[in-house]
């Protein structure tokens, strides 16, 4: 299997959770075990453009319970003999091998996944991917020349991994408290993206665009926008080092003071 593999360096490893939720796209060669017309194949592919049920295979290091997965799109590309080429956009954790098997079952003739290439992982796309050779070459160039623009040719800031996660921007004065596990209160919010629903994951960013934390929204976008006080998000994974922003909070304040 080949294709887009986002590799998080050092402290950027913490954003992996966001990437798993952001969806994937593949191009796949499916080999049919019998005859089927192009028309039949196209019709069946369209049927799978929906929520599907899957149980992870034996080899997966994940609990083997039946779970639902969304297929965003399943586009027939071409067919030659028993080989079918298609493009699929799906939720993370969807087993394409099982998808091909199930398509084969519905078609009646049976099928298996012959070849798979990932063309997208969240915001990372094939067109912008670099090879291992590129990484080795450019890192060497960077070490020789110490020109920081070389780094940008093959490394992206970890914030790129959060591109598809709805965002909430907070004041400088709120950042350090969040680093210490405090919940985000409404007054700390400067701006946010629309279409955030309660309980969904959001990316908390500083006004400089730095990733502060991954958090769980306690309210919808419209509610967060109009609330005067109250908590709007619980931090789940702090991404910025403590002390980057000054401490603007006191510990152990009592209510009767």
């Amino acid at each position: 299997m080949t294709g887009v593999l986002p590799v998080m360096l050092g402290d950027a490893t913490k954003v992996v959770q966001a990437l798993l939720l952001s969806g994937k796209e593949y191009v796949c060669v499916m080999k049919l075990h019998g005859q089927a017309s192009e028309e039949q194949v196209q019709k069946v592919l369209k049927e799978f453009e929906d929520v599907i049920y899957q149980r992870p295979p034996l080899r997966a290091s994940v609990k083997r319970q039946l779970r639902t997965r969304r297929i965003y799109y399943l586009d027939f590309l071409e067919m030659e003999g028993r080989n079918v080429l298609f493009k699929v956009g799906c939720e993370g954790g969807t087993y394409i091998r099982k998808l091909c098997f199930d398509i084969g079952e519905v078609l009646g003739c049976g099928a298996h996944m012959q070849e798979l290439r990932r063309t997208r992982a969240g915001p990372f796309v094939e067109k912008e991917a670099v090879t291992l050779h590129d990484v080795a070459y450019w890192f060497m160039q960077w070490e020789e020349q110490k020109d920081e623009s070389i780094l940008k040719k093959f490394i992206q800031p970890m914030e790129q991994a959060l591109a598809l996660v709805p965002k909430v921007w907070v004041r400088d004065s709120a950042v350090d408290a969040l680093c210490h596990g405090a919940s985000l209160a409404a007054p700390g919010v400067v701006s946010l993206e629309s279409d955030i629903s309660k309980d969904s994951m959001v990316a908390v960013l500083s006004l400089k665009g730095e990733a502060v934390a991954l958090a769980r929204a306690l309210a919808s976008s419209d509610e967060i926008l109009t609330k005067f006080h109250g908590m709007v998000a619980n931090m789940e994974r702090v991404l910025i080092p403590r002390g980057t922003y000054p401490k603007c909070w006191k510990s152990g304040e009592k209510k009767n003071e």
Partner: protein, 78 residues
């Protein structure tokens, strides 16, 4: 039945709650991080070749870039 929108097809609007500015004294814009930090808080969009496992490839990247920890976003196994 219209199909579900993929996360990369979602359009979001910016909702502004208040005005505020950020102090230049603290933190950095991600693109302006000094080199050592830029690498340590970086992600590589790698085009993985067939053969080695995703874990192996991630380990090679770690060796090239000389970092202690490296992770990857989703296994690509045969």
């Amino acid at each position: 039945m219209p199909r579900t929108i993929a996360p990369w097809e979602t359009q979001r609007k910016l909702l502004v709650r208040t005005e505020d500015r950020t102090s230049p004294k603290y933190g950095h814009k991600p693109e302006e991080r000094p080199a050592e930090k830029y690498i340590r808080y970086g992600v590589i969009n790698l085009d993985k070749t067939a053969g080695p496992s995703s874990h192996e490839v991630a380990a090679w990247v770690k060796r090239i870039v000389k970092l202690e920890a490296v992770g990857h976003g989703g296994t690509l196994e045969a």
